[in-house]
Symmetry: C2
Subunit: 492 residues, 2 copies
C-alpha cells in the first residue's frame, strides 16, 4: 500500500510480522480480562455480591508465578538491606535502625559493602553487572556445585527473561537456525524465536514419566529438523520444569550434555526453579558437566553451556525487581564479546535488583545475627509452597476428568483435563480450543485466571492447563471444585 | 561449516550477523579499557603516582551520562519514599522515621499510597506498568502541555532505551523498512536498526545553526531513500539533542510534525533531556501537535507520535534504576495491542523504578513538608550542571583546533576537533580514525573517557567528540587542557 493511500504509517498488516506471530498466553487475553475484572472490583463499593455484577469478589492470578501478589512476604534481611541502599542517609543512625526497626549489624554491614561496590543504586553499573556482585554469584555457584566459577563468565540480567532474549539474539543467525525447545514449554522461548524469525524445533516431554526428558525424542526431533535443512544450534532445558514442574534426575542431565557434545549444541539450561524442588534433588547442568569433564578429560571441553537463574522464583519471589544472571561455560571469547556488546546497548540491568541478587546468593550464614529470622522465613515459604501444592493436587485428584502426577517442583501444576464432548462442541462454536474454553469459563465464573495448555504447547489431542499453587487459603480451590462440577454437569 | 568439523556451536563467523554489525561506542572499546584502568587503580595500594604505573589517579567516565557515578546526589524525597517501599516495616514506626531520619509526613503518605497501588515492589505489575503510576504520568503530561493525556496510552519501560527497542521492533517490518535518524545521533538507534536488519536513513543536523533540524535535509534524505525503494516509516528526533545538546525551537518541532503528517511517518520523539535546557524553552512534540490539531481541526488527526522520557536524565539522574515511559498518540488500536503483547513477553519494567518515575513526575508541591528541600536540591543540581557545562565550554574555547557552540541543553558537549596532519598520519598507522586516536590517547594519558564523534556519526571530513559535563571540580578539565597542548605539540 502506498503511503498516500493509507491512513497512518502503521497498521496491523504492515508492522513487523514476526512480532505479530509471537504468542505469549501467560499474559494474553485471559490475563488482560482478569485485570479488567480486578479493576471492576476495585472501583465497586462495596465490592461484594449480591450487588456486584461479578459472581466472585476477588481475582486469583494463578496464571503467572508472582508470589508477592499472592501474599508471600519478602524476606526481611533482603529488604532491610535494599532500603539502606535506596536511602543511605539511614546509615547515619545505626542505633535508631537497631532500636526502632529491628536491624541487625549484618544487614547494616552488607549495605555498606554493597554501596562501596556500586557507588549508588542510581548509577549505571558495568553492563554485565557490578564486578563485586558477579563475584558473589561466582562464589554461590562454587558452593552449590563444588567446582570453581569465574565472575567474568557471569552476566547479570533484568530477570532470566532478559538473559534468554540476549542468548537467542546472538545464537539465531538466520531463518534456518533451529533451537530444540521442550513442549510443553514456558512460551518466552517460542515467542522470542518468532520475533527472531528462527525455528523452534519442538521435542515432547514424556507425561507418562513425570514429564521427563526422553533423549530418543530429542534425537528424533534433531534428526528430522536437520534432514529438513534446519541448522540446529542449541537445546533448551527447563529444570525444574515450567509448566510441568518436573525435576530431572542426574542421568537425564548427563544424557542431554552428551548429546549436546556430540552434536555441538549450546545447552541453554533454564534453572530458575533450582530451589523449588519437592522430590529428589536439583542437579545443575554446570555441576554435571564438570563431573563429566573430570571423569573423561578432554571429551567435553568444548561443550557450551548457558545456565540461567533469577530472583523471581525460589523462596525469594522478587519478580518485580527484575533481576537474574546467566553463566557462560565453554563459549568462544569472540562470541562472549558480542554478547557483552549486545547487552551494553541497553546499558545495564537494574542496580537495586543486582543488589537483591547479591543478598539472595549470599544470605546470612549460621551464627550471623540475621540468620535465625532469615532461616525461619525461608523455610516458612518453602513449607507453605509444598503444602499449597499438595492441597491443590489433592483437589485435582478428586475432579472428574482430571489426571495429574504428584508435585515435584517449580511453582506449577499442569494437569491433563478431559472435557465432555458437548463442551468440545461448545468450544468449537465459540471458536476456541477446548482448554481455552474451559479456562475462560473458569475465569468468568470464579475470578481464577490460569493458562490453557495450548499456551505452552501440548501433544495433539491432549488438553492441559497450568496453574500456580501460590494463592493462599483453600477458598479459591473450593470455588474451582464447584465450578468444575457445574461445568461437567452442564456439558454432560 | 558442518557441525562435525567445527569446534563449537558458536563462533564469530556463524552467530547472528546483525548483532555483529551493531555498533555501540558509548560502552565500547574505550569504556571497557577505562573500566580496566579503574580496576587497576582500585587494587593498587596506595593508588597514587609515582608508584602507580598509570599517569593518573582517577578515571573520569565522561563517556556516558551517569550523574550519580560522578558525585551527583540523589534527591532526598525520592529515595526516602523508595526506602519505605523496599522495607515497608519501616512504616510501622512513623515517629522514629521523623525524629531519627528526617522523614516528613508527605514522604510517608506517598509510600503508603504507592504500596496500595502496587502491592509490593517484589510483585510483577501489569506489563505497561501499574495503572496508578501511569495515571500520575498522564497528570504530569497534562500539566506540562496543557492538553489531556490518557493513562492507557502510556507504557512504562526499563529506561527510555527499552521503549526505543520496543517501538523499533514493532515498526521495522522488513529489510526495506527505513527510519530517519539524525546524524550525529545517540547510537542506540543505529545499533537497534542493525540488529533488526532495517535501514537507518540518515539526515544530518546543521552544526552551523546550533545543530538544528533542517527540514530540507530531512526531505532530501527521505526522497533519496524512497527513490531507492526504502519504505520510510518513522522519523527520530532527539530533543534536546544527544550528542549535540541542541534545543529545538517550536517552529522546528512544528515543521517535523507537518512533514510526518504529509508523509505518514511515525514521529519518535526522544525527549529524555526535556528538563536539561539552558537556552530557550523545551517544546514537547505532544504539545505542539495538540496546538496544530486545535488550529486546523482534522488535518493532523492521524499523526502517530511516540514520546519517550526517562528517570535517568534531568535533575534526577537515576540511571541505575532503569525506568522511563513512552506515550503513544494517534496509534492504531491493533498496533497498540501488538506493542502491549511485545512488552508482556518481558513481563514488566522494574517496579521500584516505576515508583521512582512516579515521584519524579509528581514531586512535592509548594507548601508540602518536603518541598523546600526538594526544591533546593533540584535547583542545586540544575545550577551545578549549568556551571559545569560553562566551565568545560570555556576550556574548550581556549584549546587549539577546537570549535564549539554555547551549551544549550542535555548533558553533553560535542565540539569539533581539528587535529594536526601528523596526528592523522599516526592515527592511520594505528588503524584508527583520527577522533578515535585522539580519544584513546586522552584516556591513556589522563584517565578521561569520552566518545569519538565517529560513534555517533558525523559529516565526512569532520571530527568531533562527545563528553558529558557531569564530572565535578576543575582538576579533570585541567588534565585535559594539558593533554591537548601536549598532543598538539607532539604532532605539530
Amino acid at each position: 500500500m502506498s503511503s498516500t493511500s493509507r491512513l497512518r504509517s502503521l497498521n496491523i498488516d504492515n508492522i513487523n510480522p514476526h512480532v505479530k506471530e509471537a504468542k505469549y498466553a501467560v499474559r494474553g487475553e485471559l490475563a488482560i480480562k482478569s485485570e479488567e475484572y480486578r479493576a471492576q472490583l476495585k472501583h465497586k463499593n462495596p465490592p461484594t455480591p449480591p450487588d456486584s455484577p461479578l459472581p466472585f469478589d476477588t481475582v486469583i492470578s494463578a496464571n503467572i508465578g508472582n508470589p508477592q501478589q499472592l501474599d508471600q512476604k519478602p524476606i526481611t534481611f533482603f529488604r532491610q538491606v535494599l532500603a539502606l541502599l535506596e536511602n543511605p542517609a539511614l546509615l547515619e543512625n545505626e542505633e535508631a535502625l537497631k532500636s526502632s526497626f529491628n536491624y541487625k549489624q549484618d544487614a547494616i554491614d552488607r549495605a555498606r559493602w554493597l554501596l562501596k561496590e556500586i557507588g549508588s543504586v542510581g548509577a549505571y553499573s558495568q553492563s554485565a553487572g557490578a564486578p563485586g556482585i558477579r563475584q558473589s554469584v561466582a562464589n554461590f555457584i562454587e558452593r552449590r556445585d563444588g567446582f570453581p566459577a569465574d565472575k567474568d563468565q557471569i552476566y547479570l540480567s533484568a530477570g532470566a527473561s532478559s538473559g534468554v532474549n540476549t542468548l537467542l539474539h546472538v545464537i539465531c543467525a538466520s531463518p534456518d537456525t533451529g533451537i530444540l525447545v521442550p513442549i510443553p514449554q514456558y512460551p518466552l522461548y517460542t515467542a522470542t524465536l518468532s520475533i527472531l524469525n528462527a525455528k523452534c524445533v519442538p521435542y515432547y516431554l514424556d507425561e507418562s514419566h513425570a514429564w521427563g526428558t526422553d533423549l530418543k525424542v530429542i534425537q528424533e526431533a534433531y534428526d528430522k529438523a536437520t534432514s529438513e535443512g534446519t541448522d540446529v544450534r542449541a537445546v533448551v532445558i527447563i529444570n525444574p520444569g515450567n509448566p510441568t514442574g518436573a525435576s530431572l534426575p542426574e542421568e537425564d542431565v548427563e544424557a542431554v550434555l552428551k548429546f549436546a557434545a556430540e552434536k555441538k549444541l549450546v545447552v541453554m539450561a533454564d534453572e530458575v526453579y533450582q530451589t523449588n524442588v519437592f522430590v529428589g534433588k536439583f542437579h545443575s547442568f554446570k555441576q554435571v558437566l564438570r563431573k563429566m569433564q573430570k571423569a573423561e578429560p578432554g571429551t567435553y571441553d568444548n561443550v557450551e553451556l548457558a545456565s540461567l537463574n533469577s530472583v523471581s522464583k525460589g523462596m525469594v519471589g522478587e519478580c518485580g525487581h527484575r533481576a537474574g544472571y546467566f553463566e557462560l561455560v565453554g563459549f568462544d571469547k569472540e562470541v562472549a564479546a558480542q554478547i557483552y556488546k549486545f547487552i551494553s546497548i541497553m546499558l545495564c540491568p537494574p542496580v537495586i535488583g543486582q543488589c537483591l541478587l547479591e543478598v539472595m546468593v549470599n544470605p546470612p550464614k549460621e551464627g550471623e545475627p540475621s540468620f535465625e529470622l532469615y532461616n525461619k522465613e525461608y523455610n516458612g515459604v518453602k513449607d507453605g509452597l509444598k503444602k499449597r501444592a499438595q492441597a491443590l493436587y489433592e483437589a485435582f485428584k478428586e475432579m472428574e476428568g482430571v489426571e495429574i502426577g504428584e508435585p515435584q517442583g517449580s511453582m506449577y501444576l499442569f494437569p491433563t483435563i478431559h472435557v465432555p464432548e458437548k463442551a468440545v462442541e461448545a468450544a468449537q462454536k465459540a471458536d476456541r480450543t477446548p482448554d481455552e474454553f474451559y479456562c475462560l469459563r473458569l475465569l468468568d465464573a470464579t475470578g481464577i485466571c490460569v493458562v490453557p495448555g495450548s499456551g505452552f504447547g501440548q501433544k495433539p489431542n491432549t488438553l492441559h492447563l497450568r496453574t500456580t499453587f501460590l494463592a493462599p487459603g483453600t477458598d479459591w480451590v473450593g470455588r474451582w471444585t464447584t465450578f468444575h462440577k457445574d461445568f461437567f454437569e452442564q456439558y454432560s
